[in-house]
């Protein structure tokens, strides 16, 4: 009886500790934001900040702009991703394996790097713009504003739709196709009546992910938007801006973003639940070899899209070897940019990125495994609260999280602002929902009787968790951790708010160097980031033994 009680307590203590962590680092900062958004400077409670936002066109137009670019980019991404996935799954394309990797790489780099690269190519002074201007003798102003933002977001986000739809097509049994054919369906009818309805849920779910990502991204519109102000830009400038900062107004803006992402989140859940088919293919769709004009067109299209998608990376890598003088290039090749970024006063940017990333990953993996174990195997009222709480960060945009952290942890006893800890915690919180979800899926595949077997053989519950469950989860958790790591090192939106000169990371450095027009250093930093991501991706393929990515 005594031992049974003791065992129970270990899980209970763990659950309470985790609950406390989430109360401090998620609920408290968010609660503070909610409170501040309705708290006036004279201490009264009112909704006047919200009235202020919705009554001035200067403010509410940013929301309209955000919706415009987000909807446009999501549509383009969905169409592009769908076409690419179907082409690569149904037609044999030469080098498809490498194309696949290139598509993933173009997705893994932070969107704002795409923005800055496209400015280099198609901006006022961009390489392509200048060529076009001299050939056609025109005065093109470059791609900024709405078109620029949509271009960057679409190219950056279609890989997400591509990966999801490609995965769904893989699970589509070819006998469905054959059955439809034997029942007298033409090829076009077949695609339209069988394939499209079956992948619609996946398409919608991935489109909504794109929507949420694009909607809350602020780096891209900041760099390429110029006069075209979106909501995250407004939020950032209200909080960090040089002209006017109004903390309470910024809090109100945060609340508006959270409300919107919350609606999107539930919409996604609703659609996802309603439209899911469970399929597993005994005989998957095999890419067929095509000949003639169709084959050439398919190849041309796929290669063109992949080339355009990867172009920002190529641009950045190339420019990292170019000599710069201020914002302009001399045309000489040099390694000076790399020498600059590994100078003793700058090297901490790289080491910080690695240190913070690794620390965050370790915490996220340990907590993620424990939390998923508690919520799957030790179901109780307490663990179901934890389950809900840990999903909160999923709907909180990075900039909102950053702002809420600064509000919450800038005075004793929780004085964390300016430290490395606050950045590591924010990285953990942002990645936690994804890790928990993937760990939960992994635990779900392990039969409870394996642990029961260990217990029946005389092992304690804790021991069987450590010796049996954890080792069995390891492979899956490890590959998930590598993907999390790649995502964390490209994180900008909360780090940009929380960093100080001592805790600068690669993405922050790239962003600030771009803002200062130090394009050489920015390119060198970006290249380091890209190489890290590519190597991690290769490690992922090796560890997971598969070519499928889930983000």
């Amino acid at each position: 009886m005594n031992t049974a009680k003791k065992k129970l307590n270990i899980w209970l203590v763990l659950a309470l500790a985790i609950l406390a962590l989430f109360l401090i680092f998620v609920v408290y900062p968010l609660g503070l934001i909610l409170y501040k958004s309705i708290l006036m400077e004279d201490g009264t409670i009112s909704f006047s900040y919200f009235t202020k936002f919705f009554s001035k066109k200067f403010y509410w137009s940013t929301l309209i702009n955000s919706f415009k670019v987000t909807i446009a980019s999501t549509l383009v991404s969905a169409v592009l991703g769908l076409i690419m996935a179907y082409l690569l799954r149904s037609i044999k394309i030469k080098g498809s394996k490498y194309l696949n990797i290139l598509i993933v790489i173009s997705y893994l780099s932070p969107p704002f790097i795409g923005a800055y690269a496209w400015v280099q190519l198609l901006g006022r002074n961009g390489v392509i713009t200048r060529v076009l201007n001299s050939v056609f003798n025109t005065q093109l102003g470059g791609i900024y504003g709405f078109a620029g933002i949509v271009l960057v977001f679409s190219l950056q986000s279609f890989p997400l739709v591509y990966m999801y739809v490609s995965g769904a097509l893989k699970n589509l049994d070819n006998s469905l196709n054959e059955a439809a054919e034997s029942l007298g369906c033409s090829t076009v009818q077949r695609v339209w009546k069988v394939i499209v309805p079956l992948i619609t849920p996946t398409l919608l779910a991935s489109s909504l992910l794109v929507f949420m990502r694009v909607f809350s991204d602020f780096g891209t519109p900041m760099l390429i938007g110029e006069g075209y102000k979106t909501f995250p830009v407004l939020l950032y400038s209200q909080f960090m801006g040089e002209v006017s900062t109004d903390a309470h107004y910024a809090a109100a803006l945060c609340v508006i973003v959270i409300a919107i992402t919350l609606v999107m989140f539930f919409l996604q859940k609703y659609i996802g639940n309603r439209l899911t088919y469970s399929m597993s293919a005994l005989k998957p769709l095999e890419p067929e070899k095509k000949t003639g004009i169709g084959n050439i067109l398919a190849h041309a299209f796929v290669y063109l899209v992949v080339f355009v998608a990867i172009l920002p990376q190529l641009t950045v890598i190339t420019t990292s070897f170019l000599e710069t003088r201020g914002a302009s290039y001399t045309g000489q090749f040099t390694l000076q940019n790399y020498k600059n970024i590994i100078m003793p006063k700058n090297i901490s940017t790289i080491t910080n990125t690695y240190l913070f990333g690794i620390a965050a990953i370790l915490i996220v993996v340990v907590l993620g495994v424990l939390i998923s174990y508690l919520t799957v195997r030790k179901k109780s009222f307490l663990t179901s609260i934890i389950d809900t709480l840990t999903m909160f960060p999923y709907i909180i945009p990075g900039s909102v999280l950053g702002i809420s952290f600064l509000y919450a942890f800038n005075k004793k006893p929780l004085l964390l602002s300016g430290t490395a800890i606050i950045i590591i915690i924010s990285l953990c919180i942002r990645r936690m929902p994804y890790t928990i979800r993937s760990s939960t899926a992994i635990i779900g595949q392990i039969s409870p009787s394996i642990e029961e077997a260990a217990i029946s053989l005389g092992s304690t519950e804790v021991k069987s968790f450590i010796k049996i469950t954890v080792p069995m989860m390891m492979a899956g958790v490890l590959s998930g951790a590598i993907m999390s790591w790649i995502t964390l090192i490209s994180e900008l939106s909360s780090s940009i708010i929380l960093y100080t000169s001592k805790t600068q990371t690669l993405t922050v450095a790239i962003y600030t160097e771009v803002i200062r027009s130090n394009f050489g250093n920015a390119a060198a930093y970006s290249t380091v980031l890209t190489i890290t991501s590519v190597l991690s991706l290769l490690l992922f393929f090796k560890v997971s033994g598969s070519e499928d990515i889930s983000v």
Binding site: M1, T3, A4, K7, S447, S449, I450, E452, A453, A454, I455, S456, L457, G458, S459, T460, E461, K463, I468, P471, M472
Partner: protein, 367 residues
């Protein structure tokens, strides 16, 4: 060395739902005891109460006379074999089997010795250092069995251990299980929904339905002398027909089905007379009468020739469908549409009360 298991009035509740309400049963030392019943009858629930994965809400379970209700599973010293084998996929065969011994802090050289010994008993000594992942279901099940008995448990529990195997392996493994159990002599509780499996391996069977034990008996008695119509139809196939017990005097009972009358000498005395009964006849207990008018008149609807036996599907005047099995003669198979009469082998058939809950057969009397 073997121990008895006494289950006394145990109660199991999941939330507000009572799954088992006051069940009692005694398992003898060294016995191979099977819990048999359809899915959801509570057999696995009871097994998991014995091992300790399910709490006990009332009553008590005693092993070797000691109440174990509050002893945690890992201290109960029971071996369990799971439906999905539950082999640790990241450990070699040897480490899987040694796992329980290591938990018991058995010295290293003895672990080695005992693992080798048990590997020989279950006949997989050639697989000792291999990883279990790509092994067949039969091999995995042998590992699971070895892992459960190597710790010298007081009780061996098996939860549908053969249900994931194909038909041929199932027969092979059930013989292996029975043989190993006899060799080790350990009290065993076996859960299955497969009646043939239960008949093949058990010393005694408890047939369960809806959390209640219907009958505890040897395989032979369970099949031949079921205690109610549930058991008679769940174990094997039985045709249940309405009949009347016309008279019951001097050990001679007269039973009538329709106009077919026959005499039985093993009906209990206290069953009264002129009362409605259920007559339960297995397909092989019929005799087809092609010559005279004696028996239940039926029409042959279809037939299946299966080599050793021939199955006939016939229909009575009232529209009841009946299955009849005859050993195949050299003569012609009875054509569809032909009218014949069915007689019964009075020594073998069973008679139940009208509600099917009680057997009227007096087992003391040899028919």
């Amino acid at each position: 060395m073997s121990v008895a298991i006494n289950i006394e009035n145990v109660v199991k509740r999941f939330g507000k739902e009572t799954v088992i309400n006051g069940l009692s049963l005694d398992i003898k030392p060294g016995e191979f005891f099977t819990l048999l019943g359809p899915s959801g009858c509570g057999k696995t629930t009871l097994l998991r109460m014995i091992i300790g994965f399910n709490s006990i809400e009332g009553g008590q379970i005693k092993i070797d006379g000691k109440v174990i209700n509050n002893i945690p599973t890992n201290k109960r010293n029971m071996g369990m074999v799971f439906q999905n084998y539950a082999i640790f996929p990241h450990m070699s065969v040897k480490n899987n089997i040694a796992f329980g011994l290591k938990n018991r802090k058995v010295p290293k050289d003895e672990i080695e010795k005992r693992v080798d010994e048990i590997l020989k008993i279950v006949k997989i000594d050639h697989l000792k250092d291999r990883m279990p992942q790509k092994m067949s279901g039969g091999q995995q099940q042998r590992i699971a069995l070895a892992r459960a008995i190597v710790i010298h448990p007081e009780v061996l529990l098996m939860d549908e251990p053969l249900s994931n195997l194909d038909a041929k392996l199932r027969t092979e493994m059930r013989n292996a299980i029975k043989q190993i159990q006899q060799q080790v002599g350990i009290t065993t509780v076996y859960v299955t929904h497969d009646q043939e499996e239960a008949l093949a391996v058990s010393d005694r069977i408890a047939v369960m339905n809806g959390g209640v034990i219907q009958q505890i008996d040897t395989p032979k008695n369970v099949y031949q002398r079921p205690s109610n119509t549930f058991v008679s139809t769940f174990i094997g196939l039985s045709n249940i027909m309405d009949g009347v017990l016309e008279s019951n005097e001097n050990g001679k009972a007269l039973i009538r089905i329709g106009n077919y009358k026959f005499q039985m000498n093993n009906i209990k005395k206290d069953c009264g007379s002129n009362c409605r009964v259920k007559v339960s006849v297995r397909p092989e207990e019929f005799i087809i009468n092609k010559e005279t008018e004696e028996g239940i008149p039926v029409t042959v609807k279809s037939s299946v020739f299966l080599g050793v036996t021939t199955h006939y599907f016939v229909e009575t005047k009232e529209g009841q469908e009946i299955e009849v099995i005859q050993s195949s003669d050299i003569g012609e198979i009875i054509p569809n549409g032909k009218k014949v009469h069915l007689k019964v082998q009075v020594q073998k058939i069973n008679v139940f009360s009208e509600d099917g809950s009680r057997s009227f057969i007096d087992r003391e009397v040899r028919p």
